[in-house]
Symmetry: C2
């Protein structure tokens, strides 16, 4: 790492997997997803610890149509990073994230939401991959080795300071330094709990649901999750099958993927509550803070979970202020990157709410495990009731996929963010000209 080096390019690939052919990933709102990635690579002219040219990889996740638009949005950010000094970027990732979010012309396209914000998230996360690889660390460790002040500097406190000031965040992080070594030992010894959504896709037959539920228990998962909201008779039957298959001691969560209105959600969930539900996830619009607060009060004691479509820290702030959720399901690729997820972890810690990341999709497990492990070490500092979603799906396309052993994520031992895909996968599934699509 001698001499100044530069970000030389931002390359983006449209990658799509034809998952709709098998109804993997089907739910009440999303009938036929083709899991896709707008895959971003920050290239540099710098050599890494092992002499290879350093680069940073990350992705925005979509479910098919419009992935090309997501690609275009990431490409539109190239002028904000290409040509910049690598060390300047890597040493001030908070500055990078704030600069991108505040670009006055691009900001209009959100602000801080949807395609534009996911594009920023992909570039910011690629920069994190680059920075962690440069430091020869897995991202979770790179983050956990930062001082409280360094962590505070990552966060954009704009529009959340009424709930959490930089000073409060610093105090919170400083208080968590104590015990971190013991938590690190626990993480290495025990890993981080996983739950699985694999059995519960709405397009699966009862037989497949039962078989996969039994398998989930055998594989050591602490919880399974079923998609609901299609029709109450089916939901009742499927929950019965699942509960009988997993027994009393495994968690059984349900996920409506936003299909209900507020009053409908309360009625529907209360009708299913006798199955001892671990949580109801996305009962209504992800934008509806007040609706979630009403639902939470109306379905008590069933916990309310949401977050995979929570588009930024301002929404997280309000869900916490309004006591509208019990479980915050951060997503690695929905918001403005690692930095905004750190803001959301800090908010959750302040309000005493547990974080159970959303994952699945393409590469979401790979990326979000780092955030969850960092949360345990430095922010939330607890494993109680915490678990990361796991869908055993599409991991074969990643160079360094997640390791889930007996239902627990093992801390990644490589370097970076683990979002790097095999070159062959990128080529084969590239849309529309990869072999998988050209020949279909």
């Amino acid at each position: 790492m001698s001499g100044a080096s530069t970000i030389t390019a931002l390359d983006v690939v449209d990658v799509r997997f034809p998952t709709s052919r098998m109804l993997d990933g089907s739910d009440a709102m999303n009938a036929d997803p083709d899991y896709s990635a707008a895959y971003a690579v920050l290239r540099t002219d710098e050599s890494g610890p092992d002499g290879e040219v350093l680069d940073g990889h990350a992705l925005a996740f979509t479910i098919g149509r419009g992935n090309d638009v997501q690609v275009a949005a990431i490409e539109a950010l190239a002028p904000l990073v290409v040509g910049r000094d690598v060390a300047e970027i890597a040493d001030d990732l908070g500055g990078l994230a704030r600069r991108m979010v505040r670009d006055s012309q691009f900001r209009w396209l959100g602000p801080e939401k949807g395609i534009a914000h996911m594009a920023i998230g992909a570039v910011v996360n690629a920069a994190w991959d680059l920075a962690a690889r440069r430091a020869d660390r897995p991202l979770w460790q790179y983050l956990a080795e930062m001082s409280p002040q360094q962590i505070v500097d990552l966060v954009d406190f704009r529009h959340i300071s009424d709930a959490l000031s930089p000073d409060e965040a610093l105090d919170l992080l400083t208080a968590r330094v104590d015990g971190r070594a013991a938590r690190l030992a626990t993480l290495h010894a025990e890993g981080y709990a996983a739950y699985t959504t694999g059995p519960g896709w709405i397009g699966y037959s009862d037989d497949k649901l039962e078989r996969l539920s039994v398998e989930a228990v055998e594989r050591g998962y602490c919880q399974i999750k079923l998609k609901v909201g299609g029709n109450p008779v089916d939901d009742e039957r499927r929950l019965g099958i699942a509960r009988r298959a997993i027994g009393e001691h495994i968690g059984l969560a349900v996920d409506a993927n936003q299909i209900w209105d507020v009053d409908q959600a309360i009625e529907w969930v209360n009708g299913l509550a006798h199955h001892d539900l671990a949580w109801i996830e996305e009962p209504t619009s992800p934008d509806d803070v007040l609706g979630h607060a009403r639902i939470r009060a109306g379905v008590h004691p069933v916990p309310v979970a949401t977050g995979e479509h929570m588009h930024n820290r301002v929404m997280a702030k309000q869900f916490l202020q309004a006591e509208a959720l019990d479980v915050l399901q951060i997503d690695a690729a929905r918001v403005g990157g690692v930095n905004e997820n750190v803001a959301m972890l800090l908010l959750a810690a302040k309000y005493g709410v547990r974080v159970c990341p959303h994952a699945g999709g393409v590469g979401l497990c790979e990326m979000v495990q780092h955030i969850a492990m960092f949360d345990y070490l430095s922010v939330g500092a607890s494993l109680e009731g915490r678990m990361i979603e796991h869908v055993d799906h599409l991991h074969e396309h990643f160079v360094d996929p997640v390791h889930v052993v007996q239902g627990r994520y093992r801390p990644p031992v490589g370097t970076g963010l683990n979002a790097r895909m095999h070159t062959e996968s990128l080529e084969r599934y590239r849309f529309p000209d990869g072999a998988e699509w050209r020949d279909s």
Copy 2:
């Protein structure tokens, strides 16, 4: 109109105006906008009332960088409209809007927010232009001639039914039928009030501010608006200049364009309140329902206005439920088209909040005047405290621009949505290959 006809194409043009060269449009958050449009045309093989081939024109407004992404997002929607029967589209615009919003793959990119949602808005609005032209009516009149049930059918009640049910909406609209003829006569006689933001851009000198403020009064505007939030000393001085220039009886609103955090907003606005403020606009993040509610309580009696970045009806619902605003500033191009704006008008009417549309930009005045006039005739049914923003800027590029006479919008007399731009303007300002950009 004999025989079945078809939507044959969705053409989209990237049009940008180099407004940043003059600091027109500058505010605390947006330093150097280049007002731009992702301009959408639905083409058909149907002949209109005068024998010309019918088409529908609308646009999404952006402020420069990323307008190409907005174009790509609109283009991605072509499979949902091209090849469809024109009559089927025009006769069920509610169905069209719901179908686009619920496309399960595209939905992931929002849901119902940002670039993806603005793209839907542009296509839906182009379909409205087409339908109104087909009926040989200006859009406001085409809407106002619909029955209460037809208007209810336009609206997607998903995720707002806890605040407004279809039956309630029908009752509200039915109650407004009475008096509509008298309101129509008033509209023709008096037009609809306009206020101007022209004097108050933050990049203008004190002299220019003063001169334009005096001119605004001479031109009959009922209110002017100043951009604030850069620095309190400047704001105090500029408000003094403006108030002296316009006198006591003209409204003086201020607009912070989201620059403040919640507590800062309260303090800053209270420091300026002695200038008798007509409203404080966008004091903080447009996503922050609870923050706006706190600000509104904290700056009372200064009214709080927001809406130009309110990304959908679920947000409007919550701002109204939480009593977080006094003035709802709908925008023609931010949400999912005319249909979602009708939902927002109905919500505002139910909660008794006045609607004062955001406009300016490129073509926003042209489009939103129709919604405001329809609101007066059929929904809100009042002109009290209502006014449409007017910026006298870029209208020369439109075939049928707004007519603002002595500070009042005249009801459009042509057909359609008035978003149609001159072919020469589209060619000259097309980015990056139009003459204006190629030679710069």
